[in-house]
């Protein structure tokens, strides 16, 4: 007779899918790496240090706030690194580094820790950080250096190294973004340049191709809801298409709207943030239409050339309402139309 061995008792289910939050977060960083590489290639050391400062300031803030709250440090779940990198990719390359660090502090502190950390934040922390920097330093945030300047790998833009609280000095390499050129000078940029990223803009938003590549990777790994970028692109394309057909002299073509500015980056990396987007598919649709139409409204009739950031933040704010109003229909119950 064999001696009875102790069997461990657990409640079902006895297996797991093997997915994990930190793995998802790590993969978002992986998806953003091609973009990061392109940003460093286009802007040289300036972008490299900007992204490093942005990421490190977020991770450091997260760690320090956890220590201050006497909680276990949560930097191991990689969510702060994701926030930091995405935040850095939305900044203009010539931004002084101390401003980037300050924004990183606000991104985590105001955007995330204040709400209770990962999963409880209402707004996308990376965009909160960017909005704070844009509100505080509007000039620095709208001065764009031209990409591919010679000597970018050996020296940095002088404005990057500006001391805190000193007005940054800009030299003449500034170039207008395609959206600003469209809005203020009625100039159009070629779609090819937009898709490949041979344009001025934030460090990570210029190459639509690499953004979509990163998005495709996340969708393939089932770590992003493909509906979010798809519906946003569709909304913007349809709305712009209507206006362009009505008056092609005033309104740009749909392909220009899709490829220019931060729309690609915002739709793929920002709007699709799991924490700040709805959980149901119908809710996702409403959320995306909201973002898409706000982008079009702000870009066409608003005072700013770019509206992706505020559109997403506004839609983020509506997500708790959307999720409360829209519940999945329980199996076996009647459809809403039939129940009425």
């Amino acid at each position: 007779v064999k001696t009875p061995k102790t069997l461990e008792i657990r409640t079902s289910p006895h297996i797991g899918s093997g997915e994990s939050t930190d793995v998802i977060m790590r993969n978002v960083v992986v998806a953003a790496l091609p973009l990061t590489a392109f940003a460093v290639y286009a802007h040289g050391l300036t972008a490299l240090f900007l992204l490093l400062v942005a990421s490190l300031s977020c991770v450091l803030t997260e760690h320090l706030l956890c220590v201050a709250a006497k909680k276990e440090s949560t930097i191991g779940d990689w969510s702060a690194a994701v926030t930091g990198l995405l935040y850095g990719l939305t900044l203009p390359p010539s931004l002084p580094l101390w401003m980037a660090a300050a924004g990183g502090f606000f991104a985590i502190g105001l955007g995330k820790a204040l709400f209770g950390g990962l999963g409880y934040n209402v707004f996308n922390p990376a965009l909160v950080g960017r909005a704070v920097v844009q509100g505080a330093f509007p000039v620095a945030m709208t001065t764009w250096s031209a990409p591919f300047w010679s000597g970018r790998f050996t020296s940095m833009l002088p404005s990057s190294l500006t001391l805190p609280f000193v007005e940054p000095a800009y030299d003449a390499v500034a170039g207008a973004t395609p959206l600003a050129a469209m809005k203020f000078d009625q100039e159009m940029t070629e779609s090819y340049d937009l898709a490949m990223g041979f344009i001025s803009g934030s460090t990570g938003e210029t190459s639509a191709l690499l953004i979509l590549l990163g998005g495709a990777y996340l969708i393939y790994r089932n770590m992003m809801n493909w509906r979010i970028p798809a519906f946003i692109f569709l909304t913007v394309a349809v709305l712009t298409g209507i206006f362009h057909t009505l008056n092609p002299e005033v309104y740009p073509t749909p392909q220009f709207m899709l490829l220019a500015g931060g729309l690609c980056f915002g739709a793929v990396f920002m709007a699709s943030d799991m924490v700040t987007s709805p959980v149901t598919n119908l809710g996702t649709l409403i959320y995306c239409i909201m973002i898409g139409s706000l982008v079009v409204i702000i870009r066409f009739w608003g005072g700013l050339p770019e509206g992706v950031q505020y559109s997403i933040l506004f839609a983020n704010g509506c997500v708790p309402l959307i999720d409360r109003a829209i519940q999945p229909r329980v199996y076996g119950t009647k459809k809403r139309s039939q129940a009425a």
Binding site: K2, P4, K5, L7, E8, I9, R10, T11, S12, P13, H14, I15, G16, S17, E19, S20, T21, D22, V23, I24, D77, S79, G117, L118, G119, Y120, N225, M274, V275, T276, S277, P278, V279, T280, D323, Q327, P328, R329, V330, Y331, G332
Partner: protein, 139 residues
Amino acid sequence: LRFALDQVDLADDVSRVFLGGPMMGQALSSLDIPITKGTSGIVAFTEKEQAPTDQKVYPCIRCGHCVDACPMFLNPTRLGTLARNREYDLMAEEYNLFDCFECGSCSYVCPSHIPLVQQFRVSKAMLRDIKAREKKAEP
């Protein structure tokens, strides 16, 4: 059951045994039980094969995987939040807790390793307990 596992040379090194499937099966504390007509399957894990028990639980990141997975189209992410806050009545009335048949899909897909279905079982038991007490208290 020991006889059955002996046939595949497993009885000595299993660490967890379940009657039924891996998703809803009942864990056993002993191998010395009979196999009955109702035994639909036996799942045995050795120490190496079993799922890790000490997985770190992260906060819910609202990814919606559980909402997609639920075969009853319930809202496990909301139910989970309510269970943690002990809002049992709200769970039953607004979010159809008693339509959950404990298939375990929500816990399976959760990337934050939140024990959702386990929380729902506890919530149901609490509700039943409250109901029974109320019945007893009636004159």
